[in-house]
Structure formats: structure tokens, C-alpha cells
């Protein structure tokens, strides 16, 4: 079985690094994984996406995730909801949004499962701000783990340690994951 996840973000929010950490968490859980960043002329603030595959068998495909098959969309900036081809999504596709409120544009999407977490608030509480941008990717991963339980919380924390080493940054990211895990809610 293969789960395909797309992380939608703006350059500087940590979406690509988040994809790597999520793949690493799957790796620690003993799954086959892949993290594919969409590279190009990316720059701070520009829309960007990164894909993650977590599978019980070796992953043979190398293409970006196919929209209809995507299990989850992790949206790091609510203004990017408009980039999701909603009409193509399959029944029960999960969308997790960094937002204080239930986005109006999704209020009639009955076939989707939608959840939110105020990741900006959590990132600020944890001091995860770099060059004026809240680093919300680990927050959003914590919310995704709460919503799906598809990788273990422990593995996600260990993936953060693997990415950032021991120190304050790791501690802050782990705290952000714990807060997101407790504050995430389905809408």
C-alpha cells in the first residue's frame, strides 16, 4: 500500500525540508519512502510544493503524485488553497490547513476531510521564525500525524532530531509538533 502526500507551501516556510522529515519518519517506521521537491526558480514567498510517498513496498514511480491518488494535502499557507484542483480530488481526500478559521472556499466541499491548526500562532510561541517568516512545516506535520496516525509521533520527533541535530532548534520544533498534535481539529 502506498500513501501519497503533497505539501503546498511558500518558499521559506520549510515545506521541502518538511517533506524530507516526513519521509525520514516513515523510514524510521520501516516503510519505503520518497521525498520529491519540485525544484526550479524557487524563491522566498513563491508557491512551491513537495511530494512524499510512504509505502509498504519499494516505490517504483518517480513522477510527482497524481492528483486523484493523493491521500493528503498539507497546506502551509491558506492563500494557496486556490492552487489545489479541488474538483479532481477523490472522495475523503484529506486537506490540512494552516489557518485560524475554516476557509470559506472549502465550505461546500463535502467529499473532502478538512482539518486546521493555527500553525503561525504555534510557530511564534515556539520561536520558529526565520528572516521574518514563521517556520510552520513541523507544526503542520504534527497536525498531519494526529489526523492520520500514518507515521508514529515518536518517529516524527526523531526525524526532526536527525534533521537539525541536538539543540534549541530541535527542541523548539518538537514542542511545536506536540502543540499541533494537541490543537489540531477536524472541521
Amino acid at each position: 500500500m502506498m500513501t501519497e502526500i503533497r505539501i503546498v507551501s511558500r518558499g521559506g516556510q520549510g515545506g521541502v525540508t518538511g517533506a524530507k522529515m516526513l519521509a525520514y519518519a516513515g523510514h524510521l517506521d520501516g516503510k519505503f519512502v520518497q521525498a520529491i521537491p519540485k525544484y526550479g526558480a524557487e524563491r522566498k514567498g513563491a508557491p512551491i510544493f513537495a511530494d512524499v510517498r510512504i509505502s509498504t513496498t519499494h516505490v517504483k514511480t518517480h513522477a510527482p503524485v497524481i492528483t486523484e491518488n493523493t491521500h493528503s494535502w498539507i497546506v502551509l499557507d491558506p492563500s494557496l488553497i486556490q492552487t489545489i484542483p479541488l474538483s479532481k480530488l477523490s472522495q475523503d481526500t484529506l486537506i490540512i490547513i494552516n489557518s485560524q478559521e475554516y476557509p470559506k472556499s472549502l465550505q461546500n466541499e463535502n467529499k473532502l476531510r478538512i482539518g486546521k491548526v493555527d500553525a503561525v500562532k504555534i510557530a511564534r510561541e515556539c520561536g520558529l521564525i526565520k528572516s521574518g517568516t514563521e517556520m510552520v512545516s513541523t507544526v503542520m506535520l504534527g497536525a498531519w500525524v494526529k489526523a492520520t496516525n500514518m507515521v508514529s509521533l515518536e518517529s516524527l520527533k526523531n526525524a526532526v532530531k536527525h534533521q537539525f541535530g541536538d539543540g534549541e532548534l530541535t527542541d523548539a520544533n518538537i514542542r511545536s509538533i506536540e502543540l499541533a498534535y494537541s490543537q489540531f481539529e477536524f472541521i
Binding site: 517533506a19 524530507k20 519521509a23 525520514y24 523510514h27 520501516g30 516503510k31 519505503f32 519512502v33 520518497q34 521525498a35 520529491i36 521537491p37 525544484y39 526550479g40 519499494h58 516505490v59 517504483k60 514511480t61 518517480h62 513522477a63 510527482p64 497524481i66
Partner: protein
């Protein structure tokens, strides 16, 4: 069905990008001189290796150069001085290196060079095979890897193949830019002692020595060039035989790889159509045949992992067993067709093989090619040839 099976439980299985897999393989192979110039999407390879040298993890001379042309010049000199050499490049870097790529090929310099496949002009950083295909005639062995694991395994094998005294020629290991170079996936890392056991230290066939002087690459008359070219042709004939032997040795001593020049995936006996593709499109096709099987369509994948020497015999013996053939190229010889298709067609005629032949070009400039796309092409072939 052959599969490159990885064992996730082993602690030596690590998550890494294709670029890191190249750098790791290079480090394990103990090159003595590295000269390379950064270019997207190859940059992470040279960054990683220069870091390893700086931190003392890799005992190599790292020569900072001002261009790809100089990088190849430096490794040619270093190789002739009797050292194991390594460089890596991509796209325009490869073109700029071009004069010396031919020099290394025609004068038989056993350097190993991963080429992170990237499109050419106008500016485009995304993957296709146009860069490496441009040098398919340059006297280099060419491998095309399908995933990060194969990148690592083939890079280590490339040193042993390049340096075999009956081959003694440069080797390109091609990996699709971004699709492999920047994608993180699991790679099983062999131990240093296992690699040392497989790959002994560099033994020069001839080396420049002030105490025993000779000339290399100086002005040569027609007779000399003729003799040299014939010897290079013979070297490729040797390579055809020796490459599978070296892959066998790697598989026995280290694991996984398998000794085939053309990988076969699927049920050849019942296949309605065979798909031929290089690199990651080959593994994408493996996924496509599983997708087709759900629709009760039987297909098989023939993936040449080596393009030079061209595995003619292996391909022909396989193609003879199927009714239809779909060749997918990720590059094009403008004015004709995809290079893989052209070369297979020539062999089909020479060997009088009767097969329905279809060719398509996909993925130029990094245009995505998914298993669903490939499956749709197979269905189209079957519809056209009822």
C-alpha cells in the same frame, strides 16, 4: 521478476538524494584526485565531496577549477600521472567540457563521471537525456540508472569497469536530474571493507613518469590514429563481455545489483507489448505494467542499463519473444527520432526480427512522465494493432 531488493531493517540503509548516493559511492571508491565545477542539478555532488575532503573523511586531492573544460583537463592529467580520478557534471557543463570529453574518450582515460541529466538550450534546468546522448559516440561507456540505489551501485562498479586493463576507458553514470539527484529515497550503503574487497587500488596501464618518459596524445599520423581507433572498437567489444562479469562480482561481494545489461521486468511469455526505456522512465514503466495488469493487459519492460556499449544481442534476443515493441526516448536526434529507437530499429533490421515497432518521445525539458501516461501509450499501441 527481478527486483533490486533493499532490506530496510539493515542499519546501513540510509535515506539520501541521488546526488548524495553519487558522493557516497565516490567516497567508498577512494578516488585520489577529484576536479569538478558546480552546475545545477549536479552541485550537491561536488559540495558533498568537497566537504568530505575538507573534513578529512576522504583522502583525495580536490582541485578547484574555473570551468568544466578545466575539470576534465585536470582529471586527464591526474589520471595519466597514475591516480584514480573522478568528476561530475550536467547539461551545459558537459557541453562546455565537450572537447576534453572526446579527448578522454579517444585517448582512453579511465575516469568516472556521473552526468546528472538535464536539458539543453533554451535555459531549462529540468531533466532529459539530451546532454548525455550528445556524447554517446565519444568513446565513453554509458550507464543509465533507474533509482538512487542503482546510482550508488553502478558508480562503484564504474571504477572497476573503467580501470579494467582490457577496457581502460572513461565511464559516464547517467542519473536523471532532480528526479534522482534531488529526490530522497532509501539506499543501502556497502561497508568500506566490502568495497575495498571489490575494488582494489588503481593500477595504471601506463603512466607518465619523468624517469621513464613517453609521449601521450601528441600529433599522430593516420596509421597511428587508425590503430588507436581499432583498439578502441576492440575495447568496447571487451567491455560487452567484461561488464556483466564485473556486475556479477559486485552482486556476489556486495549484493542486489544483478549482472544484466538489460533488465527484464514482467511476464515476457505472455506479454502483448514490451516497453523499452532508459533510466527512471524504465522504473516508471515497471509501475505501468502493474497498473496495466489491473486492466488485464500484459506488458513487459526491457530496460537497458547500459547504452554504450549498446546491448544489441541482449535486446534482440528479448524482442524476438514479444509481438509489439514501444520504445520511449527522453532525447531526440533532430531530423530523425529518439536515439534509443534509432539504434534498436537498426538492430531489428540487421537481425531480421519481425515485431510491430512503435516509438514515442516523452519527458523533454523535464515534462513529467507518470506510469499512467506510459500505460496509456501501451493501450494506444494495442488499440492501433488489433
Amino acid at each position: 521478476m527481478k527486483e533490486m531488493v533493499q532490506t530496510l531493517e539493515k542499519p546501513q540503509t540510509k535515506l539520501m538524494t541521488g546526488s548524495e548516493a553519487v558522493a557516497t559511492a565516490a567516497k567508498l571508491s577512494r578516488p585520489q584526485v577529484i576536479a569538478a565545477y558546480p552546475i545545477t542539478p549536479q552541485t550537491e555532488i561536488v559540495e558533498t565531496l568537497s566537504g568530505m575532503v575538507t573534513r578529512g573523511e576522504l583522502n583525495a586531492e580536490y582541485i578547484n577549477v574555473e570551468s568544466e573544460h578545466s575539470a576534465m583537463g585536470a582529471v586527464i592529467g591526474a589520471s595519466l600521472a597514475g591516480t584514480r580520478t573522478f568528476t561530475a557534471t550536467s547539461s551545459h557543463g558537459l557541453l562546455y567540457m565537450g572537447e576534453l570529453v572526446w579527448w578522454a574518450g579517444l585517448t582512453r582515460i579511465p575516469v568516472v563521471m556521473p552526468v546528472v541529466n538535464r536539458s539543453l538550450n533554451p535555459w531549462n534546468i529540468w531533466p532529459d537525456h539530451q546532454d548525455a546522448m550528445t556524447f554517446r559516440d565519444a568513446g565513453w561507456i554509458q550507464f543509465y540508472a533507474k533509482n538512487n540505489q542503482e546510482v550508488l551501485d553502478l558508480t562503484i562498479c564504474a571504477f572497476k569497469i573503467a580501470e579494467h586493463h582490457k577496457i581502460w576507458m572513461p565511464v559516464m553514470v547517467c542519473l536523471d536530474g532532480f528526479i534522482l539527484s534531488h529526490t530522497t529515497a532509501q539506499v543501502e550503503i556497502p561497508s568500506q571493507s566490502d568495497v575495498d574487497n571489490f575494488l582494489p587500488s588503481f593500477k595504471p596501464l601506463a603512466m607518465l613518469d619523468p624517469d621513464d618518459p613517453f609521449a601521450h596524445g601528441s600529433l599522430t599520423d593516420s596509421e597511428g590514429i587508425w590503430e588507436q581507433r581499432m583498439s578502441l572498437i576492440a575495447g568496447f567489444d571487451n567491455a560487452r563481455v567484461i561488464i556483466p562479469q564485473i556486475l556479477t562480482e559486485y552482486t556476489e561481494k556486495i549484493g542486489r545489483l544483478g549482472n544484466y545489461m538489460v533488465e527484464v521486468t514482467g511476464d515476457i511469455d505472455n506479454a502483448e507489448c514490451a516497453i523499452v526505456a532508459l533510466g527512471t522512465m524504465g522504473e516508471e514503466a515497471e509501475q505501468a505494467i502493474e497498473f496495466l495488469a489491473e486492466k488485464n493487459i500484459k506488458a513487459v519492460v526491457f530496460r537497458p542499463r547500459v547504452f554504450r556499449p549498446f546491448p544489441k544481442k541482449e535486446l534482440i534476443s528479448l524482442i524476438k519473444q514479444v509481438p509489439r515493441l514501444l520504445v520511449i526516448d527522453r532525447a531526440v536526434s533532430f531530423g530523425n527520432a529518439g536515439q534509443l529507437a534509432i539504434e534498436i530499429q537498426a538492430e531489428l533490421y540487421a537481425s531480421k526480427v519481425d515485431v510491430k515497432f512503435y516509438q514515442i518521445i516523452r519527458g523533454l525539458g523535464g515534462k513529467d512522465v507518470s506510469y499512467a501516461d506510459i500505460a496509456a501509450e501501451v493501450e494506444k499501441v494495442l488499440k492501433e494493432d488489433k
